[in-house]
Structure formats: C-alpha cells, structure tokens
Amino acid sequence: MDVAWTMHTGFGSWNPALWLAALLIALVVALAIRALGRKDYRKNSAQTKPFISGNEEPAHGGGHIPASNLYWGFLESMKAYYERLVPLHTGMLGDYLVWFLGVLAAVLVIGLVI
C-alpha cells in the first residue's frame, strides 16, 4: 500500500485504505447475503408489518424518544457523581473567579515549594 496512506505511530501502523477496503468487502458480502434472501417475500403484505406481540403498530409522530429520556440508566447509576459535579457549575461569576484564583494560588504554592 502507498506510503501516504499508512500512518506510523512508533508502535504500529494504521492504514485507512485497508480499513476502507475491509468496509467495502463487508458491504459486498452483506449485499450478497441479502440477495440470497427469502424468495417468498411480498411487499405491502402483513409480512412487512412489525410484530409487537399482536398489538397494532402505534401511529407515527408520537414515536420519537426525546433526548432527556436517553441514558436514563447511566445517569441514574452515576447519580452520586452527578449530584456532586453538577452543583459545582453554579453559573455565578464570583465562583468562577474563586476557582481561577484558587488554582492560581495552588500552582504558586506548588511552584515555589518545589
């Protein structure tokens, strides 16, 4: 493969061209498998409807899950972390200044001691 395509990290190498070629091959294989698919498929028949335990498919429109419902589980399990972290972002100008001056003071002390 051409040198321009290969990146050397000093520990290994990375070649986007090979990656793309692999993707392409996978795509071809997938399409080939799809072409071998069932012959008894009929469009616009009951076959194409999603099966939801025999219930009617709900109407489109209300089906979109809003963003804040995603990752509910993650946020719930990390609750202890977020309960400490989010309140730090008070939005108060004075707190922003204190954080800045605090880090400055810490670095000054560390820098002068070491």
């Binding site: 040198v3 395509w5 990290t9 000093g10 990375w14 986007p16 979109h64 809003p66 002068l112």
Partner: protein
C-alpha cells in the same frame, strides 16, 4: 508591489489585512449590503491566502522572522542596541505556522458560513468588524515572538470575542455569557501582564527568545511562570477553570463559537510556548511537576467535560463540554511529552509521539469541532431552537447537514477513518507506554463521547417528521460550502494522516521541543 516584496512582508500583512478589513467594513457596509458581503469575502480570502502562504514558506524554508520598523525585515539586532532585539519581532516557526493554518482554514469557512447565517440579523457592520478583530487577535497571538505583544493580541481576541458573544443580546443571556468571558479574560490577562512585568524587571527584555536565553529560574521567575500558565490554561478551558466555556460557547452565534474554539487554541499555543520555549530545558525546571500539572489538567478536562456533556439538553452547551473534553486530549499528549522532556530516551521512545498526537489533535479538533458547531448553527438557523428535547426528524429535510454532522460526530468520537481517530491512536499508544491508566481513561472518554453524540444524532435527525419543523429546509449554499470545506479537511486528515504528520506535525513538535533553535533564530549562534 511585486510578488517578492509581498512574500517578504507576509507576517505584517497577516495582521494588517484583517485589521484594515475590520475598520473599513463599517465604511463600506454603509454603501450597501452586497458590497459589504463582497468586501468581507475578499478580506477573509486575502487573510487566509496570506496565512497559508506564510505557513507554506515556513514549512519549506524554515522559521520566518519579521522585524517591525527596521530598515530590513530580517535586521533583528540593530547595531547600537547592545545585543537586545528592541523592536517587535514576529517569529513564525513550524508550530506557529501550524496554528496559522488552523486559523486560516477555520476563519475562511466560518466567515463564508456567517455571510448567510447572519444575513438576516441587524448590526452587521459591527459584527464583521469584530469578527476580523478576533482573527487579528488569533493570528497575532500565534505569530508574535514578543511577550508583551502576545498580551496585546490576547486582549484583542478576548475583547472582540466577548463583544461577539454578547452581540445578539438574546434577552440578556448572551450578555451574561459575554460578561463572564470578558471578566475572566481580563483577570487572566492582568496576571499575564504582572508576569511580563516580573520578567522585564529582571532581564530587560520582552522578546521571548532573549528572555529564554537569560532566564535564571529565580523565585520571581517561578511566580511569573505560574502567572503565565494558569491564565492561559483557563483561557483554553481546562477543568477546573472551564466554567465559562459552556456558557460562552452555547450562547454565542454558532459561527463565532467555532472561531472561539480557535481562539482558545491560540491560548493553548501560548501555554505550550511558555512551557517549552520559554521555560523548558532550564536546568532547574522540574519537568515532572509541570508535566504532571498539564497531564492532570488534561485528564480532569477529558473526564469532567465528557461526563458533564452527557446530561445536557442544549445542543451547543453539550458540544461546548465536548470542546473542554477534547482540549484534555491535547493537554494529555503534550503533557506526557513535557514530563519526559529531560529524559532523552523516553522522549524519543514515546514522548515525541505523544506530543505529535496532542498537536495533531489541535488541528483535528479545530476542524471537526468547527464543523459540529456550524451544523448546530444550521439547525438553529432553520428551527430556531437548540433544545434537544424539542428537535427531531430533521434527517428528512436537512440531509446535507445530517451528513456533515455525522462526519463531525464520528471524527470527534475517534471512529476510523476520520481524523480524530488518527490523533487519538497516537495519543493512546504513546501514553500507554507512559502510564496505562491514563491511556485507558482516554479510551473510556472516547466511548462516552460517541455515546453522547449518538444521543444528539438520534434526537435531532432521527424519528418521524415533526409538524413544527415542516417548514425546515436545507440551509443555503454558502452555509453548506462552509461546512463542506471543514468536512473535506476532516476526511483528508483522516485518509492521509502520515502526509500531514510528516509535513506539518513533526516539524511543529521539533520546533516546540528544540528551545535552542527558537533562541538562536533571534540571537544567532548560541
């Protein structure tokens, strides 16, 4: 004026052209709209062309010096000055040139985009004047070789940035963000000014190279170091001084947010310049301490940034937290390089690669984060909301924006074959040799980044069409052009990483590590 004299005066033109454009915009804008648009497009094209030409010159022929006010542009040390470069000198080495490339590409794409995205707003003369002043500030910060000059450009970029953030008052919310940004920037700049005073009082020089050659690392120098690096770390949005970043980035007009990302990376440039070119290689300088300082800032930024991004509901605020998180990668990569700077074998084994990864990430981040903010702006332009809970189903009507968003999102999450993967791979592999734990943190952060962008993608583009956005169409061509330019750069950097690493990143890393070369470019043989 001939070509050769233009080529000779490129560093001066890099400042002069945007400055002239900025101050003439209100005059020309007074004539009519079309003329103003043409003038702004001409101004930014000229600025970017000059920037790229200067960078090309630096990458092909080496460091470019420019002495303001001297008889000849290369006359660094006047006869009667006693060996002190008394004039303001621009010292554009490979690292500066890399930053100029970033600023040129981003500024061009952003201005083209804002020509349309801002076309229905009032007060355009002031808007473009401030935008060009912000470009002047960024270009000056990365090109100058003079510490006080750096302070002046830092203030120009902060002032113009704060004014632009507050420009669309937005019921006062934007002004609140502007005030926070302005106040913290002013406080930071005052600290930098005290540091400059401390250094000048001891060494009678403001030139970075001269200062570097005279530095004794006295107690005052240590204080000056702290007063330089903490404000610059704050300006680039490192945790725990990042609080202004989401406020400011979320409320600014989207094109300005993309430019503010570049402006904070110019501060990052200043931070690295101070640590490496000014203080690095001093006998008493404790690499491990300051290296770990940068690494800890980086790891905190990565982790806190991404975890704060996940529960956000405002798309731009979410992206702003990701900007904090990605800055962490740069700090981590370069911090590892700084920590092993004194150890030649470790530096060659993995330090240089880590630094190259960190610096490659700067340019990659500027491109994909600029792209993401521009897509967020395109969505806001058509829907008028940034709230993720209200958005949905836009993939039907805004396919190009969706494609550009996907490119940006995959790049920021480090998915091959986009550019974010290339730089992150370098950071993972080299940092692993330094400390496996840090490398694992970096990978976890990458996964969380992907997760949070899946959420954004799902809530903006997926789902059935929504009635409230039935009128939303694809954005106009100029906005698509701005986004497409950045998307193409993202893909190019991802597909041919080694070409760009050899051409730009490795020279930049060498320039940063080789403090002697930075000094001797000004003071001659050392």
């Amino acid at each position: 004026m001939t070509i050769s004299s233009i080529a000779q005066h490129l560093p001066a033109l890099l400042i002069a052209v945007p400055l002239l454009t900025a101050f003439l915009t209100p005059l020309i804008g007074g004539v009519n709209r079309t003329l103003r648009m043409l003038w702004v497009a001409l101004g930014i094209s000229a600025t970017s062309a000059i920037g790229l030409a200067l960078a090309w010159k630096v990458f092909t022929t080496g460091t470019v010096l420019y002495v303001f006010g001297a008889a000849a542009v290369g006359q660094v040390l006047p006869m009667d000055s006693g060996g002190i470069p008394i004039r303001i000198i621009f010292e554009v080495d490979a690292f500066s040139a890399l930053m100029i490339v970033i600023a040129s590409i981003s500024a061009f794409a952003i201005t083209m985009y804002s020509l349309v995205s801002e076309s229905e707003c009032s007060g355009q003369d002031g808007f473009y004047a401030l935008l060009f002043l912000l470009v002047v500030g960024i270009m000056g910060m990365v090109a100058t070789g003079d510490l006080f000059n750096f302070f002046v450009f830092l203030e120009i970029s902060s002032l113009a940035g704060a004014a632009l953030v507050a420009y669309r008052v937005d019921k006062g919310v934007a002004v609140e963000a502007g005030l926070k940004y302005a106040l913290l920037s002013t406080l930071g700049a005052l600290c930098v000014l005290i540091a400059i005073g401390l250094l000048f009082a001891q060494y009678n020089a403001l030139n970075l190279a001269t200062l570097a050659s005279r530095l004794q690392f006295t107690t005052l120098d240590k204080i000056a170091l702290a007063l330089l690096i903490v404000p610059l770390a704050m300006k680039c949005g490192a945790v725990p001084m990042h609080f202004w970043t989401p406020d400011t980035y979320a409320t600014a007009p989207s094109s300005i947010t993309a430019l503010l990302v570049v402006s904070s990376q110019a501060s990052l440039y200043g931070l690295f310049r101070v640590l490496f070119s000014l203080y690095g290689h001093l006998v008493q300088f404790n690499y491990a301490t300051f290296g770990w300082f940068v690494i800890i800032l980086g790891v905190l930024s990565m982790f806190v940034g991404v975890t704060m991004a996940i529960p956000q509901k405002d798309v731009k605020r979410l992206m702003a937290y990701h900007a904090v998180s990605q800055t962490g990668y740069m700090l981590l990569g370069v911090g590892v390089g700084l920590a092993v700077l004194g150890n030649r074998s470790a530096l060659n084994a993995y330090g240089l690669t880590a630094m190259a990864g960190g610096i490659f990430h700067i340019i990659n981040h500027a491109m994909y984060k600029g792209l993401l903010f521009l897509t967020a702006g395109a969505i806001f332009y058509r829907t008028g909301t940034r709230n993720l809970n209200k958005l949905g189903g836009l993939g039907h009507t805004m396919p190009w924006t969706m494609v550009f968003f996907m490119i940006g999102a995959l790049a920021i999450a480090g998915i091959p074959p986009f550019n974010g993967f290339a730089s992150k791979l370098m950071i993972y592999e080299s940092v692993f040799r330094f400390s496996p734990f840090l490398s694992i943190v970096a990978m976890v952060v990458s996964i969380l980044t992907l997760a949070s962008f899946v959420k954004v993608f799902h809530s903006i583009f997926m789902g059935p069409r929504r009635e409230e956005f039935a009128a939303a169409r694809e954005v106009p061509a100029a906005m698509i052009f701005g986004m497409a330019l950045l998307a193409v750069v993202v893909m190019l950097f991802g597909l041919f990483p080694q070409t760009f690493i050899d051409g730009m990143i490795t020279p930049a890393v060498t320039a940063l590590v080789d403090r002697g070369a930075y000094i001797s470019a000004i003071l001659g043989g050392h």
